[in-house]
């Protein structure tokens, strides 16, 4: 089987603004890839492109063998995207939200309970309206959708953002377990240490392009100062697009 994701000079536009200015990237089956880069580098857009949400303007992009220029629909059912927005309905309970997503994706409803439990959303939270959840709980609910849909490819955009220590650990465990069972994971994160430990490979993104790729242990990529502040932050703080910004543009 070929690569799960295969991009060549992919350009994506939002109106006249280039979100991606020519990305070349391959992700193999079962790999865990960590995207890093400053705010506005194009990490989220890259994930959204791979999820079939953002159209491609030039270059080529194949995800799971589907040509994204011709067909963005078929990709969507097979990937699970955790975006900045939670894709949840405020006026539905957590369980209803997850059930809706699972049934929409034609996945097995038995995965719902397991996913909710693994993300600590069992019990009382289960029947709580999403609108009354805290930001962190909302994030977990969104993750629960990705897990419950049993997509074999995960695209996680800042999965740690806004979570408390337990939540972060839960995310790490989820990714490890998923990876162990052969799931391909691409995650964008500012938590270099945490994400770096999870990843098989680190890809640096800047200016809408991939600027460097290396093994996480390779010198030069992780050489930048690990930002200690990111770990110690108040975990309840809402940091959707990375208020915990890494200051050093330590790419290559």
């Amino acid at each position: 089987m070929g690569p799960v994701i295969s991009l060549r000079d992919a350009v994506s536009l939002a109106g006249r603004f280039p979100l991606l200015a020519g990305v070349t990237l391959d992700v193999a089956e079962g790999e865990v890839v960590h995207l890093r880069g400053p705010n506005g580098a194009g990490k989220s857009s890259l994930l959204r492109l791979c999820a079939g949400l953002v159209p491609i303007a030039s270059g080529t992009a194949f995800v799971l063998g589907h040509d994204l220029r011709a067909d963005r629909q078929s990709v969507r059912r097979e990937v699970g995207l955790l975006g900045h927005a939670s894709f949840l309905y405020d006026d539905l309970s957590v369980e209803r939200n997850v059930r809706f997503a699972v049934r929409a994706a034609r996945a097995d409803l038995r995965g719902v309970d397991e996913a909710l439990d693994r993300l600590g959303l069992g019990g009382r939270l289960r029947s709580t309206l999403v609108g009354s959840l805290s930001a962190g709980q909302r994030r977990r609910a969104a993750l629960a959708v990705v897990v419950a849909r049993r997509a074999r490819r995960w695209l996680l955009d800042e999965p740690h953002a806004g979570l408390d220590a337990m939540g972060r650990t839960a995310v790490d465990e989820l990714v490890r377990a998923a990876s162990a069972s052969g799931t391909t994971v691409v995650l964008a994160s500012h938590e270099l240490d945490r994400a770096g430990r999870l990843a098989d490979r680190v890809v640096a993104v800047a200016g809408g392009r991939v600027v460097a790729a290396a093994e996480p242990s390779a010198p030069g990529v992780t050489a930048g100062p690990a930002t200690p502040g990111a770990e110690g932050d108040d975990a309840r703080q809402i940091a959707p697009s990375g208020e915990a910004e890494e200051d050093g543009r330590d790419v290559a």
Partner: protein, 225 residues
């Protein structure tokens, strides 16, 4: 597609049941419109007054106004917190989404029409005769209205000026519905349903045409929203 439509309609109706925007805001709004017509067109001085004569037309104008609100609400749900991206990601059949959303709005509107009909009969002093034609024209007209509304709802949901754009697009389109539904009700209330059946055909043609159009066009339109 039908499975997806059921799923989406169930979801939308469940959200409505929780939030009660339709019941708490759209129905009262329509009642206010009915009252305002009463104020504008003078007190009903028995049969033959302007209000009583114009009752069918006023009723349908009130329904049209309420439809815009209901459709806007239907897409406001999806616009909240990136849910319209979620709809795209969900892998649901776009035609199913269209039918489901339209069906949910349709159900809400039909309930509203019942309430509104009672209000019109009461306030405008018009006896609701010719039940079958009334119900049939309501059904056909509502399907047409909601189909057009849902098509344009998704078109305008991509725009920042969606609140103003939707009525501009919607009202000229449904002028034939307003005409035909008013005429059908006129005939039914006047006790000459034979004159109204032709108008029912117009409503049915419109409903079928735009329902079909929506199922085809919704996919590409959702992509662009």
């Amino acid at each position: 597609m039908w499975r997806d439509a059921l799923l989406v309609a169930g979801k939308d109706l469940r959200i409505e049941a929780r939030s009660k925007v339709g019941l708490g805001q759209v129905v009262p709004f329509a009642l206010v419109v009915v009252l305002l017509f009463g104020l504008a067109l003078g007190p009903a001085a028995g049969r033959g007054s302007v209000l009583s004569l114009a009752a069918p037309g006023l009723y349908w104008v009130a329904v049209l106004l309420a439809t815009v609100l209901a459709v806007q609400r239907s897409f406001a749900i999806e616009a909240l917190d990136g849910a319209s991206d979620g709809l795209k990601l969900s892998g649901l059949d776009p035609a199913g989404i269209f039918v489901g959303k339209a069906a949910a709005v349709c159900g809400q509107l039909l309930a509203l029409e019942v309430v509104l009909a009672g209000a019109v009969a009461l306030l405008y002093d018009r006896h609701l005769a010719g039940g079958l034609l009334l119900v049939a024209s309501c059904l056909a007209a509502t399907v047409g209205l909601v189909s057009v509304g849902t098509i344009y709802g998704v078109v305008s949901s991509g725009s920042r000026q969606r609140e103003t754009l939707l009525p501009l697009l919607f009202f000229p389109m449904v002028a034939p519905i307003l005409l035909a539904a008013t005429k059908a009700w006129d005939a039914a209330l006047a006790g000459t349903p034979g004159r109204g059946t032709g108008w029912l055909d117009v409503l049915a043609v419109f409903a079928v045409a735009y329902l079909a159009m929506g199922t085809v066009a919704f996919g590409p339109l959702l992509e662009d929203a």
